[in-house]
């Protein structure tokens, strides 16, 4: 099977995630800034756990080649992406101290710990099936918003930088490489086997946790 089979097997959850109200409001610039700031702070906490998940992939690897494939993600997260995120947050008036003292919201905990526990209990393929909705979904959302002017606007949109980041060439290419790795791992798995069905279940649950992650950004206003 391929990663596209995972998406095809949970169309409804995938749509709820990639076309979530938070995304629509971000796309047309109507998202309340309080929601966006909450999202940015939670995303910082998310990135820490994300780095732990790729470190877990190295621990789980059976071959040097697999270990080396996971290393650049850990390295990029800890040495670059988290710092970039801190810089980006500071442009929105959020200090590093604000980020450090922010408590993890339930949606953040739900997605990240689901990934980590599923990866630990299962094998490396379970881990990547749980990680996949994040990068693949962001790439799909970014591409749609950047290219489809019906779905988004870039002028006079305070969140245009978000759209350009995830819709941009660099992010799209990096996710493209990631999906090739996932497809290589999935190549041995028959979609109709017990293993195939387990992976669909993992991917669908992780996708629903991504929905909860968007939703918590809106719920801050409740």
């Amino acid at each position: 099977m391929k990663y596209t089979d995972l998406i095809a097997a949970c169309q409804q959850e995938w749509q709820e995630y990639t076309e979530h109200e938070f995304v629509s409001q971000l796309a047309d610039g109507t998202l309340d800034q309080t929601c966006y700031l909450h999202y940015l702070k939670q995303d910082f906490l998310f990135l820490k756990q994300y780095a732990r998940a790729y470190a877990l992939a190295i621990y789980k690897a059976r071959t040097l080649s697999d270990m080396r494939q996971a290393l650049p993600s850990v390295h990029a997260l800890l040495e670059h992406e988290i710092n970039h995120h801190i810089t980006y947050c500071s442009e929105w008036g959020i200090t590093e101290a604000d980020l450090e003292k922010e408590p993890e919201d339930a949606g953040t905990v739900a997605y990240t710990r689901y990934v980590l526990d599923t990866g630990m209990a299962g094998d490396m393929l379970d881990l990547f099936a749980a990680l996949a909705p994040c990068s693949i979904g962001y790439a799909q959302i970014g591409k749609r918003l950047l290219s489809n002017t019906d779905a988004s606007k870039l002028a006079d949109n305070p969140y245009a930088s978000w759209i350009k980041l995830y819709g941009g060439e660099e992010f799209q290419q990096s996710v493209g490489q990631g999906t090739e790795q996932i497809d290589a791992l999935l190549a041995d798995v028959d979609i109709n086997s017990r293993r195939g069905q387990q992976l669909i279940q993992v991917f669908a649950t992780a996708t629903r946790m991504e929905v909860a992650f968007w939703q918590q950004g809106l719920d801050i206003l409740r």
Copy 2:
């Protein structure tokens, strides 16, 4: 330090958890039945992960004595409590098939996977600090609702059985034994040490995830 120090260190979160609106409505019988049924189904999914967490405690144990202390919980959950829960659910019209096909909601995932990941990444004391809000909180809620007729009513309350279960002697005693075990583990830890502060952080986060678990029961009506 003692388990009461953990509670004292996060009074606000503890109150939000133990006096949550879901609990208040359950106490006076005004809780919408849809909410209660959702809670019951999620609680079934919770119990599976709870059994995994106590199995993790056996894996984590350094001594035979610690392994044997965790075993009765795994045994009780897998051999009795989950079956009792299935029976109880059937009295509310929920079949075992309903329970099995219920997707895990984000609050359920958040609390259970936080416990499992925190326990795996830390040591046995982290695991028990993350588990503690569940049993201790339920015991405190049950006791208050059963004894305080201002806070609850037992007559004409469809949820009286819940109050009697968690306020009852058997549950209270079992939690009492559990807190003795936690206090024995905590005895070595200075509340002001780095270790003490880590455990407070774990307990507080787990307590906030319990709040999310109650909240998802109300959110089903949104």
Copy 3:
């Protein structure tokens, strides 16, 4: 594939394990008692880790049914088998205090931690593939020694009780049930797939660690 395919794929290692010099000397009663006592003490330490491994299987399980299948092993080990072993050791003049203060020898560490780490890094099937040489090998050795009077003698053999235990009906039946469970897990796996080859590799390595476990019993005399 079936468990017999795992054995067939590492005939040489399997023979070195099941026909090890330690076993031959135990079979004909010529084994130095110092070696046997060392083996008994290490086996006590082994059983603790073995209980952790079955607890790990509960943590790793995806279904209630799989959790319940692993529970009796944890229960039997912690509530009965370890105590029986302590009693048996006392008949050989080894006190419980002796057992508790015995340092784990390298062969004991090698086999048990290989099982635990392989099970943690992989999934439940990796765990059972690493556990399998122990029970299946002991059953095969016990059966051969009890039935084949060329290979062993039971009269005037101080180790006859060992042969009767592992060759006996109760142990044989219990291992028979275990191999059915392993075969159920293996049923989906093609022996020629990457997964099949990984499992063969795990089983073969675990078998070699069993050889090291026997060998350390003899090496005590060096």
Copy 4:
């Protein structure tokens, strides 16, 4: 407590490790080349597991700072040290294909999986206590052999390169930094507390597994 307390608490095991016969023969150049080649091949397999252990440290970390402290070790191992080892082995006539097909010997499994399992079951401090004998012991051995001409000879010694590597400035400095990190983690721990005693036990067991690792190099001749 400090790392020197760990060594002081297991003087006998430490001496058996750092003054092992394998080391003495390597120091004076009398070590059979078969033994050295076996050691080199096992050391390659060791390095893979060592990288997994540092990846586990990132997974186990509670803070970004701790994650970043473990990253350089993973990076150095996967991007440099393993390749250097392959190059060094080729100078001794061992090809990369030889290294890949070499089965892990029991001493290699014992030490590496003890580290990984102890680190997983305990917390980050347990992991570092189990890792410590390796780097600290090699640094101590290297320093002694390079500086003490009674204990070693460098001229006409085929193993002089080994002594120069581990006795050299670069390795000594890197281990010096590592021991500072361990001391920072140990600073909170009272040597006489239950925690202090657990860490001593972990360090002593890991040291004994290092003895087994040296011994397997000599045992290849049996």
